[in-house]
């Protein structure tokens, strides 16, 4: 068996296969993290460069996806269990005023958190790149929408995005989406009547989910469990690019958590990683791309402290780990006295960006969503409760079928008192301090949640709904979008990476992650992560 065969053999049982996790000789590029950012960078560079990707988590067997779907439906499995998150590897602590449920918010493994994501892919608005200038709060990005625009288009092609050009509030685009948008749902038609009365515009929403066969993957077949698992692979996940990178010659090593980055004053020299056999290895390369998300990226830099960088690698600015942000959820739900046909699919098909660009210093940008999965899923209801037979069926019929709900995401401003650090009192299975999450949310975001609730409530009242729940400022939670912890800035004293996402301190180290976002906007971050990753790949190639 060749080394390549042994590495690819890690899809099978390790009890019967000897997986080669040794370092790759003469590597040009070492990518840390095989989520969407890392996988896209690896795929872009693999044809012409010797690329190695290291990921802390496993290579999941695609054949297990239906079994993972069963976990998603069964009440005995918590959400982190679906993709084997938790345990010593994923230990963390919370110290902020709000608890951040980190292990609900991430997946470690080849594909990363796209394995469990919802798959919504919007571009940030032009004003999101100039928040300080345009809105008087936050920070300006050192790049603007025009810089990222061609990469957005490329990212849409790479991920496969189903969308339409019917959104008058979206930023300008240069070509149609790669696939037609999913048609509106029946409940969208109910919302449309109410919204028309209120002067609220509805439009389609871009999905990284195949509305028709695309890139060798099937169209959506409607399993309805998009979040946390798509058995059909119709929803994009980063295994697509990890596998393609391997086909192009990259080496992807799973279960290889990077412990620290060895370095001298201005270059990273090696990634030191552990393997399941208890060994440590040293992967040298000419260039390093850290793509571990908004929590593990700053953690790795902090763990790589040295005499040269006593406060953490690439942390001359003191901003590594600072400005941790997420999007805040705002929602209202209730019931109608008529069927609403919910829970046929696990994604939404209509949204409203009408109020997004009204943002200023007092009110954050926010977007609104019209759910197709309001209320309980009957099969999940059936697995709890103390009834069965005719009594259970009666409960299901009473409980299902008339729900409506709207959701929304609200921008959180970057704050220095919202951060990811290291907890010196707790270590993981390798003896490294675990991440300490200190999540703080400011008044602007909380006020904006109230504003979003006000609109959502008006729509549901116009529909004639009996309102049953409100996710307002007191009940809000994170959307599981980790951002901001290695922010981008032209000023080396104000940020970790420059406009090219290359660290100010180290000439051969890039960060491809939502951790570079100076502000978050209110759009789901993955398309921007993907666009930045493609831009990073171009810069790495240019400088190698």
């Amino acid at each position: 068996m060749s080394a390549g065969d042994a590495r690819s053999g890690s899809t099978g049982s390790e009890a019967v296969r000897d997986v080669d996790r040794s370092p790759v000789a003469n590597a040009d590029v070492c990518v840390v993290g095989a989520g969407p950012a890392g996988a896209l960078v690896a795929d872009r560079l693999a044809a012409d460069r010797e690329v190695v990707v290291l990921d802390a988590g496993p290579r999941f067997d695609p054949a297990d996806r239906l079994a993972r779907q069963e976990r998603a439906i069964r009440p005995s499995d918590a959400r982190p269990d679906v993709w084997d998150v938790g345990g010593e590897r994923d230990a963390h602590t919370n110290s902020g005023e709000r608890v951040y449920p980190l292990n609900h918010a991430r997946v470690k493994g080849i594909g990363g958190s796209t394995l469990h994501w919802q798959g919504m892919v919007m571009r940030l608005h032009e004003g999101d790149f100039d928040s300080e200038t345009e809105r008087g709060v936050g920070a300006d990005w050192p790049i603007d929408y025009a810089d990222l625009r061609p990469y957005y288009a490329a990212a849409e092609r790479e991920l496969g995005v189903a969308g339409a050009s019917d959104n008058p509030y979206a930023p300008p685009r240069e070509e149609p989406h790669p696939m037609p948008a999913f048609e509106p749902s029946y409940s969208d038609s109910l919302f449309a009547e109410a919204c028309e009365e209120l002067g609220i515009d509805m439009h389609s929403v871009p999905n990284a989910r195949n509305s028709e066969p695309y890139d060798g993957r099937s169209a959506c077949v409607g399993y309805g469990t998009c979040q946390p698992v798509c058995p059909a692979r119709a929803k994009y996940d980063a295994t697509v690019h990890a596998e393609r990178a391997e086909e192009r010659g990259a080496t992807v090593i799973d279960r290889a958590p990077v412990q620290r980055l060895e370095h001298d004053a201005d270059r990273v020299t090696a990634a030191v990683y552990a393997t399941p056999d208890g060994e440590e290895h040293r992967q040298a390369a000419d260039a390093f791309v850290v793509a571990c998300g908004g929590v593990e990226t700053p953690r790795l830099l902090l763990l790589s402290e040295s005499d040269e960088y006593p406060d953490g690698l690439a942390n001359s600015s003191g901003t590594v780990g600072k400005f941790f942000m997420d999007h805040l959820f705002a929602g209202v739900g209730g019931t109608l006295d008529e069927p609403t046909r919910q829970n046929h699919v696990g994604f939404y098909t209509s949204a409203c960006d009408q109020f997004y660009d009204e943002a200023d210093a007092e009110t954050a940008p926010f977007k609104l969503e019209f759910f197709n999965y309001a209320g309980p899923s009957p099969v999940e209801m059936a697995l709890t409760g103390d009834d069965w037979g005719d009594a259970l069926l009666e409960r299901l019929r009473d409980g299902y079928g008339r729900h409506v709900a709207m959701g929304g995401l609200v921008e959180q401003l970057p704050r220095s008192d919202s951060y990811v650090g290291l907890d010196p009192d707790r270590t993981d299975g390798h003896g490294n301090p675990v991440p300490e999450i200190h999540w703080s949310v400011g008044d602007r975001a909380l006020r904006t949640i109230e504003r979003a609730n006000e609109i959502q409530r008006s729509v549901l009242e116009e529909l004639g709904a009996e309102i049953e729940w409100v996710a307002g400022p007191d009940a809000t939670g994170p959307a599981y979008h980790h951002m901001g912890t290695t922010r981008m800035s032209d000023d080396p004293d104000a940020g970790v990476v420059d406009a090219d996402c290359r660290t100010h301190d180290l000439d051969n180290c890039w960060i491809a992650s939502s951790s570079v976002f100076p502000t978050s906007g209110a759009m789901n971050p993955t398309l921007t992560i993907a666009a930045l990753a493609l831009r990073v790949a171009d810069d790495v190639e240019r400088r190698l």
């Binding site: 996806r65 439906i73 029946y186 409607g222 899923s377 099969v379 059936a382 069965w388």
Partner: protein, 193 residues
Amino acid sequence: MELTRRDAAAALAAVGATGGVALAARRTSDGPESGGDAADGEEGGDGDEDGDGLPDEAAVRASMTAVATVLYPSEVDGVEAFVGRFLDGRLDGSAHAEGVRTAVGELDATARSWHGAPVADLTESDRDRLLREVGADTAEEDPDGTLAERVRYYVVNELLLALYASPTGGELVGLENPQGHAGGTESYRRGPR
């Protein structure tokens, strides 16, 4: 409302079991006296144990079918064939299949102890009473938990998941494409019928 072969296939697909191949392999190895026709419900399971003290496959099938007649609403027909086809794929030699077999064995042992006969030989009302006496009605499912929690996981919720992830089970509730069923992207657009 009739449960069909399509429903059983859909229920199996929802949990990642495929049926046919595993069925062929198992029946070949079981031999002619394995009770391969157990899905017709003629075998009561009393004393039908393999050498490990656990019920053989015929007894598992008989007991699961008997429990399903209690768990499923009276509106559905074809329960026996549906459960049989579902178990064709589900009893595949996996750890989960072994868990089902073990839980059924314990439930049958309890039935014999408390009611003098295995589950399949009890009246429907006694089967209902047994499940509640065991505590499977109020237990939260747990594959590694108490008897009540394991019966809830491997027997009660196993069968309820099979039914309500199937198209016919979904239609009973007014949802023809229930979660777990790959029912396409048409139905979410349709209004009520």
